[in-house]
Amino acid sequence: MAESSTDAQKANSKSPLGLALFGIVAVLFVVGLFTHTSLEGLQIHPMDQFIVNPLFGGEHVSFYTPTNVTLWMALSVLGMIALLVVGTRGRAIIPSRVQSIAELMYGFVYKMVEDVAGKDGLKYFPYIMTLFVFILFANFLGMLPMAFTTTSHIAVTAVMAVAVFITVTVIGIVKNGFGFLELFWIKAAPLALRPLLALIEVISYFVRPVSHSIRLAGNMMAGHAVIKVFAGFAGVLGLGAVAPILAITAVYALETLVSFIQAYVFAILTCVYLKDALHPSH
């Protein structure tokens, strides 16, 4: 209903297209009000889309079973290869469209690593680029209807976050030795306060992989569940599901933005952790 009233306000601007759109919406809404039959419950359960199913029948899922998760992960890897390897094969001086997208992406991540982690962080640029592009492809492929969002599972994101955590910790210890512990011993604070701050810093350090992984998984899961909740409303309303469809469109647009931002945030936090490992003293 709220959506219809905002439509009415837009239609007041006297554009014939807006008026026609409003007319169609209103007619569909009235038709829908009289045609809807089932109000028993949601036809589409919002969390059903996150169920892991084996691709070739059966119930049992082992670590080697091809499931919908592995299928969509493989598709995101294929997407990466298609964009970054096949797309740039021409190596033209005047890049084609695909090549310029790949170059844009490369330059974007390169600049991010350089700005946040510093010049000596560039050695680890391939790792961060891989993480960013993989998460980006997994998120965007998950936006397709009927697709499976692999990054909505904490199991998937936790592997990446723990890998980042271990990598960064090992780099920090190898590069700085015991100097790495200066990360927890803040020289700028008064001496009496330092043990307390060290405790807080240690806790926040070990909580990093938790927040790093759940941020991505939670954002993707919540957004897709919201879309499916509105899809459930649309299923109940039948033909008159104008307001839910408008809401789905809006949430879908927001989710597309969130897909990119979460990939960006995952990559940039990796850079921040890397910077902490390379220069623990400040």
Partner: protein, 78 residues
């Protein structure tokens, strides 16, 4: 429906944990609002600080994520 007071408590707790999202919302709004306020005063310096803004958002959001984690634990682990 009867007698399972632990489950009831877990569900109520999970719902209450969602109020933590409000805190994260305030934090994220504060970060972005201040970024825009600064960017409008000095637009030439804004571009260099976008990454810092996103890091700030991520850290503010992390504390909202812990409330989500508490909700998940109550729903599935208790």
């Amino acid at each position: 429906m009867e007698g399972d007071i632990v489950q009831m408590g877990a569900y109520i707790g999970a719902g209450l944990a969602c109020t933590g999202m409000g805190g994260a919302a305030v934090g994220v709004g504060h970060v972005v609002g201040n970024y825009i306020a600064g960017a409008l005063r000095n637009p030439s310096a804004a571009a260099g600080q976008t990454a810092t803004m996103f890091i700030g958002i991520a850290f503010a959001e992390a504390l909202g994520i812990f409330s989500f984690l508490v909700a998940l634990l109550l729903m599935f682990a208790v």
